[in-house]
Symmetry: C2
């Protein structure tokens, strides 16, 4: 009997079922490679129209993949042309299929990294799934450009920026959150080309280079607001001055689905809101090839 | 015989035909109220995929309404769900239906405010129509909140900002251009509500208040980069300190379809690109009610 590569057998559904049963509670960085992952926002129904508009106006950080009918946690309405909610994720429970959750009350984080939100979900909540940049990490790896954090079993570093989002109704005073992957200067155009078709999972980088740290208003590259501290591809601390000329290692910044969690805090929304714990995503039934789009 | 209000009889088509025959060459601020107006970008076909992506990633300043097949100037392919190109504008000639045009060579403005681009258009050009904020000026006026510039027959003031756009292929290093309409502080939420449904013509403001001038990186409110200098509703110069408390007159900034013209210059594109002269729009056959969208 041949040996079984359990990692190879992972599917979106298998990860969801493990999370649902409480057996999976870590970041999903390398889970079920090639399957699309997603961020979560769950809102009281009266806030849903403004949030939908907020996503439409800020589609790079907040690409809306699907939402639930009011109060429903096991069925999706698709926002991806050509795909149904059932195709995006069939066997589904948004209350427990993420490895970890965050709970916000009146815009403030009140519970962090809880296992599920089964008791908290009410008949008035609407769930939204938002694209995640993990979706193109497999494509980068396949092209010989694995993101440094994936080589060392770390969560991706995520930073608060000063770049404003377009307001929509109650969602105002928000700024981009970005994820970061370091690359050599000579590889950055290739990274842009590979990630460009992933339009609904943040797409190509929004900025790059050491100059971008100041341009985006990131306070300290060594201390991200979410995720793990950044490392170079060799596992050492990421610092400026590694390599020369085209070999210079530079930070590359992407839109990040943690952005709406910040937006919820900035808006100081009344009521109870749920989200996933950053890096702890839901894994869907669709694959990267289902969502990439050439123009 | 009753008198005829010629202004009332204006339609999108009548303005297009006047422009086409060389009889109309002014800004279209108050032309055919209620009919949707649009900005123009015409690119060599090899740049079209990147531009389409650029619009998708920056849909507030660059909402893509329609484009032409390669080399075609009299037929549109619609990007508005539920509307055909023929419905958007039937009798059409993108080479002459705008009152005035700009010509860029290799990313530099080489001709300004020309009457038409009939001789310049080639079999390789693709035309793009982008939403225009003039579309909601009629709705604001109807609600008793006429934009100040419309009261005094002036072009809307437009400003360069430091707020970065999301890059897409060759389109990088760009920032938002914004149009500005001053309103009393107490009316700003009403202005946001009225403009919010106009998602594909820039929608609600991106920022507001005197603090926003610095936040957006606008160098001087008195000297816009495009259009006319701003005026208060009473026709006097717009300055800080007009009114008190809720009556304070404040600048309100909207996404602006001149943004892609700046993007073309920033990208330093090789080849010949055409655009409309800022404020000198094409007027379409569709009306505002055809494009507003409630969430």
């Amino acid at each position: 009997m041949s040996t079984i590569d359990t990692n190879f057998q992972q599917t979106g559904e298998s990860i969801r079922l493990l999370a649902r049963s409480g057996k999976f509670h870590t970041p999903t960085i390398t889970s079920a490679p090639g399957f699309v992952q997603a961020n979560l926002i769950v809102l009281p129904s009266r806030l849903a129209p403004d949030f939908r508009q907020f996503c439409a106006r800020n589609s790079v950080p907040c690409p809306l993949l699907a939402e639930t009918p009011i109060g429903i946690f096991d069925r999706l309405k698709s926002h991806i042309p050509g795909l149904t909610g059932q195709q995006i994720a069939g066997d589904l429970d948004l209350r427990s299929d993420f490895p970890r959750y965050m709970i916000y009350d009146n815009g403030r984080l009140t519970k962090s990294h809880v296992a599920n939100i089964e008791r908290e979900w009410t008949g008035d909540h609407v769930g939204f799934l938002i694209g995640c940049s993990f979706s193109f990490d497999a494509a980068l790896t396949k092209a010989g450009l694995p993101p440094a954090h994936t080589l060392w079993g770390r969560n991706v570093p995520m930073y608060r920026t000063r770049v404003p989002l377009c307001p929509a109704g109650v969602f105002k005073n928000s700024t981009y959150i970005v994820s970061m992957r370091p690359y050599r200067r000579k590889d950055i155009e290739k990274v842009r080309d590979i990630t460009r078709p992933y339009l609904i999972t943040h797409g190509e980088p929004i900025d790059w280079g050491w100059d971008a740290v100041e341009r985006l208003g990131i306070s300290n590259i060594a201390t991200p607001e979410y995720g793990d501290a950044p490392v170079a591809p060799d596992g050492t601390e990421l610092v400026q001055g590694f390599g020369e000329g085209d070999e210079t290692l530079e930070p590359v910044f992407f839109g990040c689905g943690v952005t709406p969690q910040e937006a919820i805090q900035r808006a100081g929304l009344e009521g109870r809101v749920f989200a996933h714990a950053p890096g702890h995503m839901i894994v869907l039934d669709i694959k990267d090839s289902d969502i990439t789009r050439d123009n």
